[in-house]
């Protein structure tokens, strides 16, 4: 038994961690240890990857590449491979993962289980759209190979399936051609949500990556920075080197709090506004700025933090986002990590995939006494707009909100592995 946390650090309950190291021995390692759940890089924020006092199958030792065909761009690898390893290896060779979430330090298995999206959703869809096959081992001893064509029902259940259909052992991924690691990027300061929507619309056709940072303390007349980028063959003058900075210890209280929130946001806005305009940047610091600071989740102190990420449909979306920003500003909570983005219309491949057409808002909140009350107010706005929350980020949504947000849940349930269970699955599905 050893204490294990997820990225939000809300708990550190003891777990019986079984380290998988041999992809041919997974069925053996699952036998007799169920119920449990797979644990990859531990980058989901809430209780999706946790099973207090029970078994966790750690996939970090399943980090081998199996085969790569550099004429087709098909990569076969084990599920514990971290996306950053693939990118750092393949981008210099002219190939790239088509979809990477806001952190590169997630595993392939985790990216499948959450059907993650990136800043290029409007151009590339979700991670599951580029998985050509996968191999699932179940606690019953069965092995199931599936893909968009092969046993597509199992594939649709497993992509976005929160690790509950079995343990993904390996996957084949379709990489895409890339000119290299450099991006032509632009930072555009904006004021007001209408300006944000206009910029989104204008950028969809020509810019692969779009995302926007907003000052969550600014309320309805939100100010923010719209970031857009696209791959380029041009190179910046000097090479980029990965930083090795890390937050060395957990401060006794959250450094993001009511006293610091406004000044942190103002400082961030002022600092980045100065970089407005076009420039050539390396993809890592631009797309994954937080990966440059190790263990940044410690900044929220020993009590940890929540992330609230929702998606609301395009029609009622703008008003819902306004209402949420208003509620957040009034509560004087939030963080410097508030992100707004529009999703494209492409339907996601999984039965429980989070992405749907509309607008997504994501914000971190320190674990403070009032935060759960704020979440209830935000829930009401999301539900009225017909939206839903992202399980990868969630630690507290009510079960009926999950059920209404994910209407295909009844189709999913028959595919569950009876031996796969997490704190989240018990909270949201009863087992």
């Amino acid at each position: 038994m050893r204490p294990v946390s997820s990225w939000g650090r809300l708990s550190a309950a003891p777990h019986d961690v079984v380290e998988l190291a041999d992809r041919d021995g997974v069925a053996h390692a699952l036998a007799g240890r169920a119920p449990g759940i797979a644990y990859g890089a531990g980058r989901s924020y809430g209780d999706e990857c946790l099973n207090p006092d029970g078994t966790l199958w750690s996939t970090r030792g399943l980090d081998r590449l199996i085969a790569f065909d550099d004429t087709t761009g098909r990569l076969v690898c084990e599920a514990g491979v971290v996306l950053r390893d693939i990118q750092r290896l393949m981008i210099p060779r002219g190939w790239s993962l088509p979809v990477v979430p806001g952190t590169q330090i997630a595993t392939v298995g985790g990216a499948i289980a959450n059907d993650v999206h990136g800043k290029n959703h409007h151009a590339a869809g979700t991670f599951g759209d580029h998985v050509t096959s996968l191999r699932l081992v179940r606690t019953t001893g069965e092995t199931i190979a599936c893909g968009p064509e092969l046993r597509p029902d199992w594939f649709a259940a497993t992509v976005g399936g929160m690790g509950l259909t079995g343990l993904v052992v390996e996957a084949e991924l379709q990489l895409e051609r890339t000119p290299g690691p450099w991006l032509e990027a632009e930072t555009l300061p904006f004021a007001g949500l209408d300006a944000f929507f206009r910029l989104s619309e204008d950028s969809v056709a020509d810019w692969e990556h779009t995302v926007s940072w907003i000052d969550c303390t600014s309320g309805i007349d939100v100010r923010g920075l719209f970031l857009r980028a696209r791959p380029t063959t041009h190179e910046a003058g000097r090479p980029w080197r990965p930083g090795r900075r890390t937050v060395p210890f957990t401060p006794p209280v959250s450094l993001v709090n009511r006293l610091t929130l406004r000044s942190l946001n103002t400082a961030y806005y002022a600092l980045n506004r100065r970089r407005a305009g076009p420039r050539i940047v390396h993809y890592e610091p631009f797309l994954y700025p937080l990966d440059g600071i190790g263990a940044w989740n410690r900044l929220y102190g020993p009590r940890g933090f929540y992330q609230y990420q929702c998606v609301v449909p395009p029609g009622p979306g703008p008003q819902a986002v306004r209402d949420m920003l208003d509620a957040i500003a009034q509560a004087r909570e939030g963080s410097i990590l508030a992100v707004l983005k529009t999703f494209g219309d492409r339907p996601a491949p999984g039965l429980l995939s989070f992405v749907q057409p509309g607008i997504t808002l994501a914000l971190d909140f320190r674990n403070s006494p009032g935060v759960l009350g704020l979440f209830e107010r935000l829930d009401a706005i999301v539900r009225a707009a017909g939206g839903r929350l992202y399980p990868a980020k969630d630690a507290r949504m009510p079960r009926e909100m999950f059920e209404t947000g994910y209407p295909r849940l009844p189709e999913f349930l028959p595919y569950r592995d009876p031996g796969m269970s997490s704190a989240m699955s018990r909270r949201l599905m009863g087992s």
Partner: protein
């Protein structure tokens, strides 16, 4: 001087060795010979390294019984006959729990796998390297070899033997074209240290340890602690007087 590096890795499926191999193939054209006991495991590691290395590198696998003298000689003869070897890294070992060493058969196996076998590999390669007046013998020791402790003295004694062996080889090859590097990792996050982690003790990421080892081999330093902080820690531990040390539960 050619720009390819030819490296023989004994115990190549060990987590630290595998990570070092990744760093080597990813930084430039490398010809690797992976020597291992388990063919299936070695095959998986080799496939991974072939993808990582791309067209510029080669990866070969040799299966051998590490406790068989004839097999040890065969590995050294065959790999050196096939071409100049720049580095041999001797990395195999098992972390035997001290409380199982009351079983004398387990105790013996630990001493043979962790001390006798690696020393014999080093000696076998030393003969070839001496003739070529070229090559680096890198031996994975451990901080556990610096002072006997009740928690792991069988493993520690085995690793301590490797320290003396490396020291002797270093003396033998001083001023020649052959280098001897003894690498001493602290507790590292590998499947081998599951017991350590279950007790809530700190372990270093295996990637960091591998980086320190590869750098250490490049610089041909005689002794390299990984992470470097262990050098200071073990300096203190080694010099604690007995009346203090024996009261500590470390």
């Amino acid at each position: 001087m050619n720009d390819r590096t030819r490296i023989v890795v004994i115990g190549a499926t060990a987590a630290i060795a595998e990570q070092c191999c990744r760093l080597w193939v990813q930084r430039g054209p490398t010809d690797l010979v992976l020597v291992a006991r388990d063919a299936a495991k070695a095959g998986r590691v080799a496939a991974d390294l072939r993808v990582r290395g791309g067209a510029g590198s080669t990866v070969e696998v040799m299966i051998a019984d590490f406790l068989d003298t004839a097999a040890i000689v065969r590995v050294a003869d065959a790999t050196t006959a096939a071409g100049r070897v720049d580095i041999v890294m001797i990395a195999h070992g098992v972390l035997t729990r001290q409380d199982t060493c009351g079983d004398i058969a387990i105790c013996r196996e630990s001493l043979e796998v962790n001390a006798v076998s690696p020393a014999l590999f080093a000696e076998a390669f030393a003969g070839h390297f001496a003739k070529a007046n070229h090559g680096t013998i890198a031996i994975i020791g451990s901080v556990a070899g610096d002072r006997g402790r009740k928690a792991n003295y069988t493993y520690g004694a085995a690793k301590g033997l490797l320290s003396r062996y490396a020291e002797g080889l270093e003396h033998r090859f001083a001023g020649s074209g052959v280098a001897v590097v003894l690498l001493k990792p602290g507790p590292t996050d590998t499947p081998m240290s599951a017991d350590h982690k279950a007790h809530g003790r700190r372990v270093a990421p295996v990637e960091d340890v591998a980086r320190a080892i590869v750098r250490g081999i490049d610089t041909r330093k005689a002794v390299v602690y990984a992470p470097a902080l262990w050098q200071l820690v073990m300096l203190i531990v080694r010099h604690l007087p007995r009346f203090v040390f024996n009261r500590l539960s470390i």
